[in-house]
Amino acid sequence: MTRRPLLLRLVDELLSGRGIWPAVPAIVVLVVVAVIPFGVLLSLGFSDIVVSRGVIVSQELSLRHLTTALADPLYHTTFRRSLTLALTTTFFCSLLGFPVAYLFLIGGPWVRRIILVLTIAPILTSGIVRTYAWIVILGGRGVVNATLMEFGLISQPLRIINTHWAVLIGMVQIHLPIMILPLIAVMSRHDSRLEEASANLGASRLATLRTIILPLSVPGLGTGAALVFTLSYTTFVVPQLLGGGNYLNAATMVYEQVVYSLEWSKGAVTAMILMATCLAVLLVFAWLTHIGTRWTRVAQR
């Protein structure tokens, strides 16, 4: 047998499904776009850099940026605001998403189709476009104010846009599908006879929802909550546009430090704090989900 060209053998290995070979392309991409930039970020955040004429002249290890940031009251306010916003968004997405997923579960084929279309359609539109739509709706002369004034409920336009509320409304709308989809995926995996069995055993619809459907939806709620939290904690488009430019959250802070004030080391530190706090919250979510799904693991033993 003649030796085959290296490239062909490599492709063969990649397609073989053995070991880590099939994951190699993804690993390469991740190293290039995530691991290396992350290293650069770390090196920026933990060093004092002197730049002269666009070239790094000297770089020394330093915790100065981190300690300054941790002591800065602006950071405290900003991160508390980000955290509150993301957690409220997650809460409202769960609250609004669960009934939709439940409707999908009990609905007929047409109800299901409509729910899926209505859930997926917004994802196909750019977040920026959807956010601008909210400006139109919530603005001083927007749909909401015009309607309320038309009916004489208010005499002056309410100030919604450029407030915390506008940001929250936009955030919930943008992230709602991200909560609904995993919920639907998890909930429709269970035997639909479970609800009938529960009713047959004497449970009301509410009792079935509370004792059967909700506990079985925990993995979906966990996944949805983790996704919504991560996205809403780190987004900067919605706060930027609906908050009117003066609504500072952690992500907009990074953006301003990097793009406007060109303090890259500061930006790197902010980004690291953002990431660390995000991971901490995700760990709490994971722990809660873990408690709520103990039965799935006990059952495997």
Binding site: R193, N200, P215
Partner: protein, 363 residues
């Protein structure tokens, strides 16, 4: 069975009132009539089987009794009382599902205690009754397991215990043995029948498996196209089927086309089958009712050639091609003579008992 703390109201006082009575139940799905004026009655303590092929309406009828479906017409009475307006969770009907529908996130004990908790029974009594129910199905010691940690047979027993603990008036079983392998199925069928008989519960049982129906039932309702074709004891359904459909569906049957006159049909072996019909008929011959023996090529009478044979344990099964091209299935206990009959051999056929044959009008 009914104690002071029983979750279900006590039975009506009428002595002979059937436990379940269904009158002219009709159910349509998108213009398709699934139940077509279906009527039946289940007596106290009997196991009634709804037997039929898929799409005959047996599961729909069961789901109407349970309350998961509302019939478009007719009446469903339990202990003489109209049940249709009663919501699902207030019916004294326990369902064992084909998939068992055990709650995967609850342990065996909490699964079994679920219905009692929903009825607000005190915790200590729940504990006592759950223990008793688990003992009834021989699952003591499995309280803390989760359904996924149990075998198929054990899961089924949990599903039964879960409804039995509520002491329902009627037990509904929707093809409960489908998920079990063949060997276990036979054992579970007998165990289940013994259990239900011991507890004296009225049970309605749905299956498409005629052997299962014969094993389990006190009476069988053979269903076809949303109606009940025959409702009788297993023996009667097997020995005296009401129609060619029932004869074909329950047990293996041969059909031989003949001409009836003067109260009988004469089969090729010279024996006459008594019948009230006249003209063209189909005669049902059970495979075990046909005699088979080796025949010489020159002999007259009812003859055929063996086209296929197989051993079914202690039995031999033959497929015999008749001179007119029709084929006949014959089953007999294996013995020395039969063992000599091979594929291609010419055989003589006869009838063991002409009275066990039934003639149906030819459609």
């Amino acid at each position: 069975m009914i104690t002071a703390a029983a979750p279900f109201p006590a039975a009506g006082t009428a002595e002979a009132a059937p436990v379940v009575a269904i009158r002219d139940a009709v159910k349509r799905f998108a213009g398709l009539t699934v139940l077509d004026r279906c009527s039946l009655v289940a007596q106290e303590g009997e196991i009634l089987t709804l037997l039929g092929s898929s799409g005959c309406g047996k599961t729909t009828l069961l789901r109407c009794i349970a309350g998961f479906l509302t019939p478009d017409g007719g009446e469903i009475l339990i202990d003489g009382k109209d049940t249709i307006p009663v919501p699902v969770n207030r019916r004294s009907v326990g369902v064992v599902f084909q998939s068992y529908a055990l709650f995967p996130h609850l342990t065996v004990a909490t699964n079994v205690g679920y219905g009692l908790r929903m009825r607000g029974v005190p915790a200590t009594e729940i504990g006592r009754r759950v223990a008793q129910a688990l003992q009834t199905v021989s699952l003591t010691g499995f309280e803390e397991r989760y359904p996924a940690q149990l075998s198929g047979g054990q899961q089924q027993r949990v599903a039964i215990a879960r409804v039995l603990v509520l002491e329902p008036r009627v037990l509904l079983l929707d093809e409960p043995f489908n998920a079990l392998d063949a060997k276990l199925r036979g054992t579970m069928q007998m165990e289940m029948r013994q259990l239900i008989k011991r507890l004296g519960i009225t049970a309605i049982f749905v299956t498409h498996d005629q052997e299962e129906a014969l094993t389990m039932s006190d009476r069988i309702a053979v269903m076809r196209a949303g109606r009940i074709e025959q409702l009788d004891t297993p023996e009667a359904v097997f020995d005296r089927p009401a129609s060619a459909y029932v004869a074909d569906f329950v047990g293996a049957s041969n059909f031989w086309n003949g001409l009836a006159s003067q109260g009988r049909v004469v089969l090729p072996d010279g024996q006459g089958v008594p019948t009230a019909l006249d003209g063209e008929v189909r005669v049902m011959l059970r495979p075990h009712n046909v005699l088979i023996e080796p025949a010489g090529a020159d002999q007259a009478g009812w003859r055929g050639n063996v086209r296929f044979r197989r051993h079914v344990g202690a039995l031999m099964e033959y497929e015999v091609e008749l001179s007119d091209g029709a084929s006949l299935r014959v089953v007999a206990l294996r013995d020395e003579t039969l063992a000599r009959i091979d594929v291609g051999d010419r055989v003589a056929l006869g009838l063991r008992d002409p009275a066990a044959c039934i003639a149906f009008p030819r459609a």
